[in-house]
Amino acid sequence: MPNREPAPPKAGVLQGTLDLMILKVVASLGPVHGYAIAERLAQVSEGALQLNMGTLYPGLVRLEQRGLLRAAWDQTESNRRARFYSLTPAGRRRLEVERQEWSRMTGIMQRLLDDTI
């Protein structure tokens, strides 16, 4: 056993944040496939977020089932078939609600942590 396999880094995604991340990425990139979403998240987080498929695709299916995303097969630039996700109107509304909720929450956390009394 010369080469030991490193343990895969755990994606420490906070429960509930994954949906918001996906919604946001899909909203900003327009119709986008799963790989691009993972890429985008890795890029933005400078490699801190390595989503594996076991996390990403269940999330996508969940969002699609809740009617927040819709998916369609299409060609990529490199002429491959991929499944592109885009937001439904419900998804847009949801993203807005979640975003506000998140800001409110982080604001509270921020104030709490900065409190030096």
């Binding site: 396999e5 390595q50 695709y57 269940p58």
Partner: protein, 879 residues
């Protein structure tokens, strides 16, 4: 509105499942490709890029499972996927699958056959309405604990009882039917008029017997069994009221029983339980006769009456009978036994013994499969660690592991059932024809369910331990450490070792049991049987009343026939007698010995039989004193008797018996000879006192022909019957058999248990051998490097060989000793089949242990040799 949309989305995801799965697979494939290309762009080799892509993204299988779990029917769906994967995995690991399947199929197949026996003989209710209300009643005295009820006592029991709806008597009394000019003896029962009412099944055509039928002894009426009506009377729909010729007289058919009616059976003057009776005719019942005991009593308890209440009632009646008739009913007790218990009798133990042995084999097979599963699970640890790292839950992992066992169990059950079906005809042929309810042993739906349930349960239990352990695997530890030193591996190995030791222990128990039975058989066959069955032909004949009303007529016929038989070519000896050894004959009578006082409380009585000259010579029953019967003992000659040694030992100890006078049936008879003991039942531990009277002086209508020849006894049958028919063309001969067939049949049940236990013991040892082999092979593989180092450090090959062998021996000894300690306890369960050996017979223990340990050594040798041959340099290089 949104709810509706969601609903449709869900529907789509259920009904469009296949499509969605396809989507997912394609999507994941695409994702991996993109990831691989990114790797290639970073300058990796294609394979490495693929590997890293997979690693980065996790196993695709997990991803798709996680997604499936999102579904409405996620659970089922996931299971199906697991099952598919299990099939794939099982096909990949051919060796594992083959051994596990073989162990399961063999043990399940065997146990299914055993179950058919258990079910048919013990579990299935008897074919009568409310069979649990049917009981047999016996007269019981200290001397004769289980006797038929006398007709006079029955008459009173019918009048006095408070706990029975009805009671009835039955006793075998065969009739002879002529069809064409061929006489045929038919199994016939004489029954009191309420017999069918008691059984709860009435004739399908015509009428039941009525009290009037049995009151008038001369009213010759008969009820036909359904089979006889079909075969001999071509299902004649107008048979009722017609006259048929039985025993050379005209009889009227008053009824025909429904198809499938089974006689209630009995061990005395009755054929076996089942469709064994052709004709039924009335038995007169009255208050007179209380001295003879040849009628069997069956009763149907009232609804709601318990057997205990019936027993109390019977005790009360017995007291009443003793008070009114102190002579014939001295010390009388009435015994009440459930019909089921009574029918199965001693065979119950045999059936349970076989079932227990089969269960042990099943347990061993289960332990075997469990060991294999542990080995599999160790091999899968990495894979599972990855799954856990990817966030698969405990249940998911347990489920995926158990799915393999589920598939294994289903396949094993199906194979086992197929095996059972293939072996069923052979199995039925193995079961002795006179085994109680043997006709009920058949492969039913119940047995099919039993087989599948058995296989699934065994397989799932075997998979459970490793599966649960799997789920506790710490991913980090497994992925970063080598499994060799991991504690999980050690635990698993320990569990396997315990399982193997258990297998050896069970196998030892079976071997000891088999050895005990073998010893018993050896002792039985070494025992003086007191006769030589080889070369002897026997058959039954019965004289009808018509034409043989006077004793002289019978005596004349016997003399003529015997004279003719003795001149037949090849006949060394010929005789007629009421009894042949080992036939279960059991007719007893009191007598007294002149000049010897009777012990108080021990009336002198013995089994009586009549025999013509030549009987003892034909059976080669040794003469101990005096002489055999000869022509001097004619009807006109002085009355004589011959006794056996058991009678002398018991009633005339220390006296010279020959020349004494015995008073039998009111007449003094001179004791002219003493013969060696022989047994009426082969399993009798001691011979009963018995005496013989010359057939010419006591002519009986029911006798056996006994002829000895040097060649094949069956070749004598045709000439013997022809010689008989020269005297009386209408005399039928029944049940012609070679004496060896009778002795074989008498031992058949014991031999079945014997043979099966040997087969099971062998199978168990084989399974244990597999277990030991697998365990050691694994050890050798694990310690490969260590052995290499040892050899490099100067250990000899013999050292290594011994090191491994020691492991196998330790297992065998641990299991063997535990098994040997448990064996005597297990042996108690087969007490009725043991003869002349103690439960802890040291010789049996020794042989069984020796066999198991030798087998263990054989099993250990291959891996040990492999280890000893290992090249140290490769072992080290592999690191």
């Amino acid at each position: 509105m949104r709810a509706v949309l969601q609903f449709f989305s869900k529907l789509r995801s259920v009904f469009g499942k296949e499509k969605l799965d396809q989507h997912l697979e394609d999507e994941i494939e695409f994702h991996l490709q993109m990831e691989t290309e990114a790797g290639l762009r970073r300058g990796l080799e294609l394979n490495e890029a693929r590997r890293q892509a997979r690693l980065k993204c996790g196993y695709e299988s997990v991803a798709s499972e996680e997604i499936r779990d999102q579904r409405l029917l996620g659970w089922l769906d996931g299971t199906f996927a697991d099952l598919r994967q299990a099939v794939v995995a099982l096909r990949r690991h051919r060796g594992f699958t083959a051994i596990a399947l073989a162990a399961l199929a063999l043990s399940v197949g065997l146990n299914t056959l055993i179950f058919t026996m258990l079910d048919g003989v013990l579990l299935r209710p008897l074919p009568y309405p409310q069979p649990d209300r049917l009981v047999r009643v016996f007269e019981s005295t200290p001397r004769n604990p289980k006797w038929p009820v006398s007709i006079g006592n029955f008459y009173d029991i019918r009048r006095l009882n408070q706990s029975f709806d009805s009671v009835a008597l039955y006793t075998e009394d065969d009739l002879q039917l002529m069809h064409g000019d061929v006489p045929e003896r038919l199994k016939s029962m004489r029954v009191s008029h309420d017999f069918f009412t008691t059984a709860g099944i009435l004739p399908a055509m015509g009428r039941n017997f009525e009290p009037a039928d049995s009151r008038a002894d001369k009213a010759r009426v008969v009820i036909l069994g359904n089979r006889l009506w079909k075969t001999r009377f071509q299902s004649d729909p107008a048979i009722v009221g017609k006259t048929i010729r039985l025993n050379r007289e005209a009889w009227t058919v008053v009824g025909v029983l429904p198809p499938g009616f089974q006689h209630v059976g009995g061990s005395y003057r009755s054929p076996l339980q089942g469709e064994t009776v052709d004709l039924w005719w009335p038995l007169p019942v009255g208050p007179g006769n209380r001295g003879s005991h040849y009628t069997n009593l069956i009763g149907r308890m009232k609804a709601g009456v318990s057997i205990e209440q019936a027993r109390q009632d019977a005790l009360g009646m017995a007291r009443e009978l003793t008070r009114n008739f102190p002579g014939p009913n001295r010390d009388l007790v009435l015994r009440v036994e459930p019909l089921t218990t009574e029918l199965v009798g001693q065979s119950r133990q045999t059936v349970w013994l076989i079932a227990a042995a089969g269960g042990l084999v099943l347990l061993i097979a289960g332990a075997n499969v469990a060991g294999l599963c542990i080995a599999r699970s160790l091999a899968r640890r990495k894979e599972i660690a990855v799954c856990r790292a990817l966030g698969a839950g405990t249940w998911r992992i347990v489920r995926s592991v158990l799915c393999e066992n589920l598939v294994l169990g289903l396949a094993g059950g199906a194979l086992g059932l197929a095996l059972a079906a293939a072996l069923a005809p052979g199995w039925r042929a193995l079961i002795p024809a006179d085994f109680p309810r043997a006709h009920e042993v058949q492969l039913t739906w119940t047995a099919g369910f039993f087989a599948l349930g058995c296989a699934l349960l065994t397989s799932l239990l075997a998979g459970l331990a490793p599966a649960l352990r799997q789920s506790r695997v710490d991913p980090a530890a497994s992925l970063t450490q080598e499994s060799r030193g991991a504690s999980a591996g050690r635990d698993a190995h320990r569990l396997r070792a315990v399982l193997v030791a258990g297998e050896v222990a069970f196998a030892t128990v079976l071997c000891v049991s088999a050895a005990l039975l073998v010893q018993s058989s050896l002792r039985l066959s070494a025992r003086e049987n007191g006769f030589d069955p080889n070369g002897v032909l026997t058959f039954q004949l019965e004289l009808p009343r018509a034409g043989y009303e006077k004793p002289e007529q019978a005596a004349r016929l016997y003399e003529e026939v015997l004279a003719r038989w003795r001149t037949l070519p090849g006949v060394q000896a010929a005789a007629l007698a009421t009894n042949i050894p080992w036939s279960g004959y059991d007719e007893n009578s009191g007598f007294s010995i002149q000049g010897v006082a009777e012990h108080p409380g021990d009336s002198t009585q013995g089994r009586y039989q009549m025999a013509s000259p030549g009987y003892f010579e034909a059976l080669r029953i040794p003469l101990r004193a005096g002489r055999y019967f000869d022509q001097r003992d004619s009807a006109a000659g002085p009355l004589v008797t011959i006794v056996n040694e058991a009678l002398v030992r018991r009633y005339m100890p220390g006296l010279d018996p020959v020349g004494r006078t015995l008073e039998i049936w009111g007449k003094p008879r001179l004791l002219v000879g003493v013969v060696a003991d022989n047994f009426d039942h082969p399993a009798d531990l001691k011979a009963e006192p018995g005496f013989w009277l010359p057939l010419s002086q006591v002519p009986m209508g029911e006798v056996n022909g006994v002829l000895r020849t040097a060649g094949d006894p069956m070749s004598l049958l045709a000439p013997a019957v022809a010689a008989l028919h020269e005297s009386d063309r209408e005399l039928p001969v029944a049940e012609p058999r070679a004496m060896t067939t009778i002795t074989r049949a008498a031992l058949a049940e014991r031999n079945l248990a014997n043979w099966l236990l040997q087969a099971f013991a062998l199978l168990a040892v084989m399974l244990a051998v597999f277990g030991i082999y697998g365990l050691l092979a694994y050890v050798v593989e694990q310690r490969h490097r260590e052995f290499g180092i040892r050899v490099a450090m100067g250990a000899t090959r013999r050292d290594i060989l011994w090191l491994v062998l020691k492991g196998g021996l330790a297992q065998a000894l641990a299991g063997g000793v535990i098994g040997a300690l448990c064996a005597p306890v297990a042996a108690r369960s087969m007490a009725s089949l043991l003869y002349g050996v103690s439960f802890g017979d040291p010789l049996s223990l020794f042989w069984a242990l020796a066999f198991v340990i030798c087998a263990a050594l054989v099993a250990s040798f291959t891996p040990a040799l492999g280890a000893a041959r290992a090249d140290p340099s490769t072992a080290l290089r592999n690191e």
